[in-house]
């Protein structure tokens, strides 16, 4: 394992301080915690937004703290959901008196730790709601199991719910719009290489020179199936058709998309995928209104990419295009 680190157990702590060095106008670290909060909190009386999860998904989630998106982000150890006391510290940092929405990716660990934090907040009189993001269509959605995982599509929840909160919507409205995003959201990813969890020191899995792992999560977990390497065109199409089918997208519908690098896959390859995506939407007569292309939800230095589609209606489209200003995502009004 070759990484630019000092010690395995100080990575997250150091990285949080480094984020503040790079984005002092955006972020501050809540003292004694693993929480990054807005440098300039939003006005009181507005709903707060908190997200978080294990580290190693940068820019998620600290990179999305700022105007129009999150109020606080809680960082766990690499790929390990944060503990309830930390989540609770995030809730307190985000609370401006109108309640706090927690954006939680659907993993057992995240769900339980955020739940315990909500119990703590409750005891403290802070009203919280949760939106569970479960956009990964590689995983079967079943009532008998934990259901689907949350992956890169989470960023659309941050953006759209964040815009609603910024506009002054109340907690139940912000939750409603966030739930609607989740109901219209589908993602799927693939890995060309594994990543190495620092505490572990070696790659979580091994892939052959001609293999690709489809349906991977964002923690270096094994995916759903291992298939031979394919072209950018085939790969984009195979992810795309799966998403379109899951969302039952039909003629004339409006969509936003995300082409997300898992870490090591360079922008040039994402751009090639984006070109195919535009052709595919044209062929299925979808109106592709927005493409987010880049590193939004990564798995350390894994090579690979994920594709996300979000069905838009007028409300989601307006909120998606509303101004926002965070380290990792800016929508500038001209």
């Amino acid at each position: 394992m070759k990484k630019i680190i000092d010690a395995v157990d100080t990575i997250v702590d150091q990285a949080l301080d480094g984020m503040v060095v790079a984005y002092p106008e955006y972020l501050k670290r809540v003292e004694g915690t693993m929480v990054l909060a807005r440098h300039k909190p939003k006005e009181s009386g507005k709903v707060g937004l908190v997200s978080g999860g294990g580290s190693g998904h940068e820019p998620a989630h600290g990179g999305y703290v700022g105007y129009g998106m999150l109020d606080a982000a809680v960082a766990g150890e690499v790929f390990t959901s944060p503990t309830p006391d930390q989540v609770y510290a995030g809730i307190r940092a985000a609370d401006r008196g109108a309640g706090v929405l927690l954006v939680v990716k659907n993993y057992t660990g995240d769900v339980m730790n955020f739940d315990i934090a909500r119990e703590l907040a409750d005891a403290d009189g802070i009203v919280t709601e949760v939106v569970l993001v479960n956009d990964d269509v590689a995983v079967q959605d079943s009532l008998y199991t934990t259901g689907r995982r949350g992956i890169a599509g989470t960023v659309f929840v941050h953006k759209i719910a964040g815009a609603a909160a910024e506009e002054g919507a109340d907690l139940s409205s912000v939750k409603a719009v966030a739930d609607a995003v989740v109901a219209n959201l589908a993602s799927m990813g693939c890995a060309l290489t594994s990543c190495t969890v620092p505490a572990n020191g070696k790659p979580t899995f091994e892939l052959g020179e001609n293999e690709i792992e489809m349906g991977i999560g964002i923690h270096g977990e094994p995916g759903i199936e291992r298939v031979p390497m394919m072209s950018a065109s085939e790969l984009t199409a195979s992810l795309y058709h799966r998403l379109v089918a899951e969302l039952s997208l039909g003629d004339g519908e409006r969509v936003a998309a995300m082409v997300n690098s898992m870490g090591a896959t360079p922008a040039i390859e994402l751009a090639i995928m984006s070109g195919h995506l535009a052709n595919l939407t044209k062929r299925s007569k979808l109106s592709l209104e927005k493409v987010l292309m880049g590193e939004f939800m990564t798995s350390l230095e894994m090579a690979g990419a994920s594709l996300t589609l979000l069905r838009l209606d007028q409300e989601r489209s307006t909120l998606l295009n509303a101004a926002c200003d965070t380290p990792a995502l800016k929508v500038v009004k001209h």
Binding site: I116, A199, P222
Partner: protein, 211 residues
């Protein structure tokens, strides 16, 4: 069980997990995210530190310290479960330095119930509950049969190991491994292994106490 034994139990558990950290990570790598050994090891290291520094209060205070420490240092699914479960466990313990064997079993029952409620897993879901639930049944039965504490826990450690091994054949329905569906079959659940190590620690502790 007295306070010395209780603290020794956690020290021993920490030792066993530390020695098996890489193995636990590797089990988790196969069907999860490769961090279960690191998570438990990080938390138990802190538990030992906390107990070493903690005032000699009561068993309840010790168990609360264990719960709070696990809750705030382990993270992940196992941290939420062990942490919140141990807090419930502490409430069920007396505010004293000794507890009867039956009182200890009752408290453990509270612990397991809390985990069932929090995690919603049942036997066969390929989680730590595949060790904890049958272990409770066996503890209750053997206690009613008036067996000695030592005999009980030594046998239980053996059985726990077996229940953990048996998760290999299961398809996961809870936790991160559930996302793998059929691909989860053929691998032992890491949380069940660390839980079996806790029963091992319990056996080692009780055995060491009986001269």
């Amino acid at each position: 069980m007295d306070q010395v034994a209780f603290r020794q139990l956690w020290r021993r558990f920490a030792e066993l997990v530390h020695a098996n950290k890489t193995a636990l990570n590797e089990l988790d790598a196969a069907i999860g995210d490769a961090d279960h050994g690191s998570n438990m090891d990080r938390g138990l290291g802190k538990v030992v530190e906390a107990l070493d520094a903690g005032p000699e209060g009561s068993l309840r205070a010790d168990a609360k310290l264990v719960g709070m420490t696990l809750m705030s240092t382990v993270g992940g699914a196992s941290g939420a479960l062990w942490g919140s479960g141990m807090l419930k466990f502490s409430i069920a313990l007396p505010d004293a330095t000794v507890v009867e064997w039956s009182g200890f079993i009752d408290a453990l029952d509270t612990f397991v119930e809390a985990l069932s409620k929090r995690g919603q897993a049942v036997v066969g879901d390929k989680t730590m509950m595949d060790v904890l639930l049958p272990a409770m049944t066996e503890l209750r039965a053997s206690a009613e049969a008036q067996e000695s504490g030592e005999e009980i826990v030594v046998a239980l450690a053996e059985h726990a190991k077996g229940w953990s091994d048996a998760t290999r054949e299961l398809m996961a329905r809870r936790g991160r491994a559930a996302y793998l569906g059929e691909r989860s079959i053929g691998h032992v659940d890491p949380g069940s292994v660390s839980t079996a190590l806790w029963f091992q620690a319990l056996a080692d502790t009780v055995r060491a106490q009986v001269p």
